[in-house]
């Protein structure tokens, strides 16, 4: 059996190496479908936005009001691209998201694991955790604005909360649903408590950790944007993509609002891609699915 499989296998593996990366990318059907979908979406948007311009007011689609067409948005984007203020907004938002998210991971993963493996810890900390968890992060904004000395710290705190609860609940759930067969098998083979934790519970929880991270990252962006809109306009700190949108709204630049929104979309996409890549790196056995 082995003899037949191996040369065949080698042949299959050697073949794709002849094509360059670029060629492979150009032949990727999923990629082209994605590009086409976005192009079609933009086209429909453009037609919808320019409808009245082209066909007159009487042909306007009811309910559709002032939408800047993508071509105008693109033009507005080109205008802000060279401005350092725009990139500073990116930087500010990313900094807040990453710091809140990282602290939530650093605190949340051990906290969730401790809840999962230690009954006493769970008895003490789970009830207060469950009472605090349903409070939406944005409900914390007024309290944290008063409590924390600077706006920046309030935003960071609220961002942290956004990711923290999701990460903890995912880690806890993941660690507690590890199949008892794995634990029994490992114990039969002589695994110590530390081996069980580091070699079974931790890798067994990794998928849940990354699920929690992906969801938490999404919530973090939501929270940061909202917090920036609420508090970012003040004298200290400020900035960020949330404030960029708010500022455009105040200034009445419709195109720039959409530029801000799309920027957030791209930023969110970049963040979740990073988490996916990290997930693939940490969990090679999941790459096959």
């Amino acid at each position: 059996m082995t003899d037949i499989v191996q040369p065949n296998n080698a042949g299959v593996q050697a073949a794709p190496k002849k094509r360059s990366r670029l060629q492979k990318l150009a032949q990727n059907e999923s990629l082209w479908r994605g590009i086409t979908a976005i192009a079609v979406f933009l086209l429909i948007w453009e037609i919808g936005a320019r409808w009245d311009e082209w066909f007159g007011k009487e042909w306007m689609i009811p309910g559709v009001g002032l939408i800047p067409p993508p071509s105008d948005v693109f033009a507005a984007w080109l205008k802000v691209l060279p401005k350092p203020g725009y990139w500073d907004s990116w930087y500010q938002s990313f900094k807040r998201v990453l710091s809140g998210f990282l602290v939530a991971m650093i605190v949340g993963i051990p906290f969730g694991l401790a809840l999962a493996v230690n009954k006493y810890f769970r008895d003490v900390f789970f009830p207060p955790f469950e009472i605090l968890r349903p409070i939406p992060p944005l409900a914390w904004v007024p309290a944290s604005l008063i409590f924390w000395p600077t706006n920046e710290m309030s935003i960071a705190f609220v961002t942290f909360l956004g990711a923290f609860f999701t990460i903890v609940i995912n880690v806890l759930g993941g660690a507690r649903t590890i199949d008892v067969r794995y634990l029994r098998a490992a114990q039969s083979m002589g695994a110590s408590q530390w081996d069980l934790f580091s070699k079974i519970i931790l890798p067994g929880t990794l998928p849940s950790i990354f699920t929690g991270a992906a969801v938490g990252m999404g919530i973090t962006w939501e929270v940061v944007l909202a917090a920036e809109m609420i508090s970012g306009g003040g004298t200290q700190g400020g900035g960020g993509l949330g404030f960029f949108i708010w500022n455009s709204y105040m200034g009445g630049s419709l195109e720039q609002i959409v530029v801000g929104m799309i920027s957030i979309g791209i930023a969110g996409y970049l963040s979740s891609s990073a988490i996916r890549l990290l997930g693939d790196w940490f969990m090679p056995w999941r790459r096959l699915f």
Binding site: V5, R184, A185, S188, M189, A191, P203, L288
Partner: protein
């Protein structure tokens, strides 16, 4: 068993020769589960003697308490009365209701329990590594050797999710064997497999057994499997689990798939079938009573 690479083959040979270990005595074992105060007797006064190097097949209706017995031997569950001994040493009994888990009694689970986050080679190397018997590189080397011996040489670096269920089940048996166990405890390991894969699994297990002569405690529903693999077939009653009948399988080893069409095989099938059928009817009626 600290094996360096140079005398590896020799150690393997000595392993196959000196195998007068792994005798299991199950004496008057009773197990009463007590969920919410309702006594459920899973095993009642069950006794069996399993000689060293014997392939002992346990056959009985579903839910009869066979797995309870296996869990008691493995040390996953406690027993209520009776005692279990391995090579004359008490595993569990009066004053020690639950056996310690140990690498001399390796379990191969019903649905497989290879760690999905480790490659087959890493899975097999896990035991010797956590026990500190071998260094990581030596354990991996030995693991690859043993996988190759079991016909899995081409998939040692694959994850369990990448190979077929048959391959992963064979790898799991290798993972058990690398710990040099006295007893291999198998809980319906080939249950969900199609007939073709199953027959390949059987031949592979027999081949492994002929090489290692490890004692095998094998739970199954499949009567043909029981006779084809076993030295003895213990038929147990429906809940509570008790030994009903022992059938000796005197078919010479090594056995091949042709064995299954022989006359003696057919006669044994009849004998086992009769006993099992009786229990199946009893189990069915008991189920009806519970529902009425």
């Amino acid at each position: 068993m600290n094996v360096s690479v140079s005398n590896f083959d020799e150690a393997k040979r000595s392993m196959t020769v000196s195998q007068s270990r792994g005798a299991l005595s199950i004496r008057n074992v009773t197990k009463i589960y007590d969920p919410e105060g309702v006594n459920v007797m899973a095993v009642k006064d069950c006794s069996m003697e399993i000689a060293a190097g014997e392939v002992c097949m346990i056959v009985g209706p579903s839910g009869c308490g066979k797995t309870t017995l296996l869990n008691a031997i493995a040390g996953f569950h406690s027993i209520t009365y009776g005692e279990i001994l391995l090579d004359g040493e008490l595993l569990c009994g009066p004053g020690k209701p639950k056996a310690e888990q140990g690498a001399e009694r390796m379990v191969v689970f019903q649905h497989g329990a290879l760690f999905p986050w480790k490659t087959l080679a890493q899975n097999v190397a896990y035991g010797p590594m956590v026990q500190g018997r071998l260094s990581k590189s030596l354990a991996l080397e030995k693991s690859r050797d043993m996988l190759a011996e079991a016909g899995l040489g081409s998939v040692t670096e694959k994850y369990p999710g990448e190979v077929s269920s048959g391959m992963s089940r064979r790898a799991e048996i290798v993972r058990a064997l690398i710990n040099d166990p006295k007893v291999l405890l198998l809980d319906e390991p080939y249950r969900a497999m199609d007939a073709l894969t199953k027959s390949i699994m059987h031949e592979s297990l027999l081949e492994t057994y002929d090489r290692t002569k490890v004692t095998i405690f094998f739970i199954t529903h499949d009567l043909e499997e029981a006779i084809f693999l076993g030295d003895k077939v213990h038929i147990v009653t429906t809940r509570p689990c008790q030994l009903k009948k022992t059938v000796n399988v005197d078919i010479a080893r090594p056995r091949s798939y042709e064995t299954q069409s022989s006359e003696e095989f057919r006669l044994l099938m009849e004998e086992v079938n009769e006993a099992v059928h009786e229990e199946a009817i009893k189990a069915f009626k008991a189920g009806e009573r519970e529902l009425a």
